[in-house]
């Protein structure tokens, strides 16, 4: 057997922070053969990205390798100097990053950026480099590659930027490609095309790939071997079928359970949440004749003439949960903002409780008596909280403004009650957003939204920024809140599995129009439209049988 391409042996990395030294990696050992695809999965803070950055020597100044060895092609690169690394980086090992648009130089054309990489490693003239760059853009299947050479990153979509990034990374045919969350933030269908492209390129050129992801389905589908990391340690390592089919380590078990699949339910996600085991009975399960929200012929035309929402109509009954799914640009977030009256529509009516609330402009809606009835939970829990407001202030604000609670003691009682309902311990109420974790911030955001006792809660990708285990707990919480209070949900998400679990009915949107709508169960098992079928097929999954089948297929093909 030949020596592995890359070995990481007992790697320890510490970061010096304001609170002293923090050990990010506590002895990580991994190895990778030439041409192999290794997945590293784990939640934020598990050290998966730090591992990759250590290999590439891209740790920022605060981070330091304190122990261990990294060997690449038999060469020790643990503390390699710049002059030794520069010929390796890009040529022998390269990397693809999360957020492709930010990873490209905004004021340089993509053709020049690809040429920069080529010319850093090979003696090429500008003209030759341009010709090679064109070939690379063709290889990553970009349409009109000739024109795209002179495009700037802001003129390309996120998926296209990631293709350009891939073109740069494979420009000099490296033996190792590290992909750090390459598709996070991209649509499911785009994710599928980008990942298929990566898999195809690495297979054809015999490159080894390390795929770092928080998405177990993605790792299962595209990797030959998966390592699970938790708090700076690799806790389990196996082929996907056995890892996800029969996880051994408790953390892997929890992670697998928390990841939504096509079969999971809200209750099956959480292994030990400390939430009440028996769900409270639903306040009202029958559908009343009068809908709470009746949207009809909704149109939103933006200033540049773009029709973001095009003739959308739907009803929402009190206590019902309705999901809006679609790719970016499908208009799902715009609809949620129109319904919340944060944005003015161009045509159509938004009926709430039998009254057309669309008549009140978004500027004046804060004075409407319906303001307290419609509240929103935002996607980015960090950015949507005022950094100068403590958790208490955040939750108290709507109580003071919308519910008119002025008395200090009464206010405190109600805020504490809200915090208790979302499972936020009252000692956290005095903390500021930066002192809270992602999950706690999500809880504050939800508590703020339900504080004024609304009847309709609009949830705009409420769990998109959260780790799967936190997402599971938050979904559980949202489901329980709806059962307890009879709130209606308008649930916007790009994660179809989440919508299937959370919503009784689902609307599939494409380019501002409704493509399909119906009860979630039926829609997801038997979609009627091609677009919905395509969306559902693009969800990465890790059904053990499917993974084994894939494996067998790959073995016979190879």
């Amino acid at each position: 057997m030949t020596a592995p391409l890359l070995t990481i042996d007992d790697l320890k990395v510490t970061f010096s922070t304001r609170n002293g030294l923090v050990e990010a990696l506590k002895g990580v050992s991994l190895s990778l053969d030439a041409g192999e695809t290794l997945g590293i999965v784990g939640e934020s803070g598990s050290g998966k990205s730090v591992t990759a950055f250590s290999v590439m020597q891209l740790l920022d100044h605060a981070g330091r390798i304190t122990n261990g060895r990294i060997t690449f092609r038999g060469q020790d690169i643990t503390r390699a100097s710049r002059s030794m690394l520069q010929p390796l980086r890009g040529a022998a090992m390269s990397m693809i990053f999360q957020n492709p648009r930010a990873a490209l130089n905004p004021i340089r054309t993509v053709g020049l950026q690809i040429a920069d990489v080529l010319r850093a490693h090979e003696p090429l003239s500008a003209r030759e480099a341009r010709a090679r760059a064109l070939k690379l853009l063709e290889a990553v299947l970009i349409r009109d590659p000739e024109e795209r050479l002179d495009a700037y990153p802001h003129e390309l979509s996120g998926g296209m930027c990631q293709r350009v990034m891939i073109a740069m990374a494979i420009a000099c045919e490296p033996a190792l490609l590290i992909a750090d969350e390459p598709t996070t933030g991209l649509d499911v269908t785009t994710q599928k095309t980008v990942m298929d492209l990566l898999a195809e390129i690495t297979a054809r050129r015999g490159m080894a790939m390390i795929l770092i992801t928080h998405d177990l389905g993605l790792a299962a589908q595209y990797c030959q071997r998966v390592a699970v990391m938790e708090q700076g340690l690799v806790v389990e390592q196996a082929v996907p079928a056995s890892l996800f089919g029969a996880p051994r380590h408790p953390y892997t078990k929890r992670l697998v359970a928390a990841s939504p699949t096509r079969l999971s339910t809200v209750d099956s996600l959480v292994v030990d949440a400390g939430e009440p085991a028996v769900p409270a009975p639903r306040v009202s399960s029958r559908r009343p004749a009068e809908p709470l929200l009746a949207v009809s012929g909704l149109v939103k035309t933006f200033d540049n003439g773009f029709r973001g929402v095009d003739d959308v109509s739907f009803d929402l009954a009190p206590g019902e949960s309705l999901g809006l799914v679609g790719e970016s640009g499908s208009g799902k977030s715009t609809i949620s903002r129109l319904v919340c009256r944060l944005l003015d529509h161009s045509a159509g009516t938004i009926g709430f409780d039998g009254e057309d609330i669309g008549k009140v402009t978004s500027r004046d809606f804060y004075r409407s008596r319906f303001r307290k009835d419609i509240q929103i939970v935002f996607q980015d829990h960090g950015d949507s909280l005022n950094p100068r407001f403590s958790a208490f202030d955040c939750i108290a604000d709507p109580l003071k403004l919308l519910a008119g609670v002025q008395d200090g003691r009464e206010l405190r009682r109600q805020v504490e009650d809200c915090a208790r309902r979302v499972g936020l311990p009252s000692e956290f109420l005095d903390r500021f957003p930066h002192q809270l974790s992602g999950g706690q911030k999500a809880r504050v955001g939800i508590a703020r939204a339900i504080a004024a006792k609304p009847r309709l809660l609009v949830l705009d990708e409420p769990t998109a920024a959260l780790d799967v285990s936190v997402q599971a707990v938050i979904l559980h919480l949202l489901d329980r809140l709806r059962r307890e209070t009879g709130l209606a949900y308008l649930f916007v998400s790009h994660d179809l599995n989440v919508v299937r679990m959370m919503c009784e009915r689902t609307i599939v949107l494409q380019k501002g129009r409704i493509v399909e709508q119906g009860p979630s169960g039926a829609l997801f098992t038997d979609p009627a439209s091609d677009y919905a079928r395509e969306l559902i097929a693009a969800i990465p999954h890790f059904d053990p049988e499917a993974a084994t089948a894939r494996h067998r297929e790959a073995a016979t093909a190879g």
Binding site: M56, L58, D60, R82, L85, Q86, P87, L88, R89, G90, A91, S94, M95, F97, N99, A102, A103, L104, N105, P106, I107, R108, D116, V117, A120, H121, Y152, H154, E155, M165, M168, A169, A171
Partner: protein
Amino acid sequence: MSLAAGIARRAGRRALSSVPALFGVIVFTFLLMRVLPGDPAVFFASGPNAGQAEIQMIREQMGLDKPIPQQLLLYLKDIATGNLGRSMNTGQPVVTDLINRLPASLELTFTALLFALSLALPLGILAALKPNSLIDHGVRFLCSLGVCVPTFVSGLLLIYAFYYILGIAPDPTGRLDVFAAQPPVVTGFMLIDAAIAGEWESWRAAASQLVLPAATMALFVLAPLARMTRAAMLAVMTSDFVRTGEALGLSRRRVVLVYALRNALLPVITIMGIVFSTMLGANVLVEKVFSWPGVASYALDALLTSDYAPVQGFVLLMAFIFVLVNLTIDVLYGLADPRVSIE
């Protein structure tokens, strides 16, 4: 090309939208000059014992006896015909005075800006590449010094050191040594005129006169430029695309100069516009110290004698230059950042 068209459209829109501002400046300075204490007629009367009748005559001659709105209308009419009035101090039309003196101020300001940029950019970059190092602290010290020492003090110190003690600099009086040959006036910029005429002796003389005042000014504006460069470089050096450059094996030189610096220059361009305008205004002290025949010292002399026309003309000129600088910055920014022109 669409890029050029986009920039031209932006520049045109900016130019149009600055018309009301310019008009406001005209009215405001006009009124301000009228409410300031001091009667210009008294100043320009023949002597301290001039009779009431004489003062009254001067007042009528200057149009000061008319009601203020009428005076304003007359003033606006004059401006529209390119007449900014006549300076009582020099006896010349204000327009002529300004045209004669503006090149001196501009030459000084441009040279100072050039000095400041060629010092601030490398210092800012060095400081950003090694934050909290000795270099960084040194640059910070130099910048603080430049900001806290007033220009007339640093100017005098420079004169003391380089003219009085070391004797390298020529005596600080005006734009050209009295013994050097005055090149024929083409642009008014001494260095350019001398170069056109091929009189390199005069060019050298003019340049050596320029060095000290320009250095004084440059020191004053070093801080905003260097600090901005440092901050922008620091931010850009931690950005994702610099990391991409590093990860794909680009040379350090290329990463710093092409990837980081070009992006970091964007905010510096904005600051440059502000600095340039500040410098034109702050010129007055430097011009006084070095007896520089510029527009700022001209306006100051006029102000001290309640000579309305030159002050109003000066303020109008400054407002006009400010608009022009902003336009230039806009165009530069559009060229430097492809993202701007599409909005």
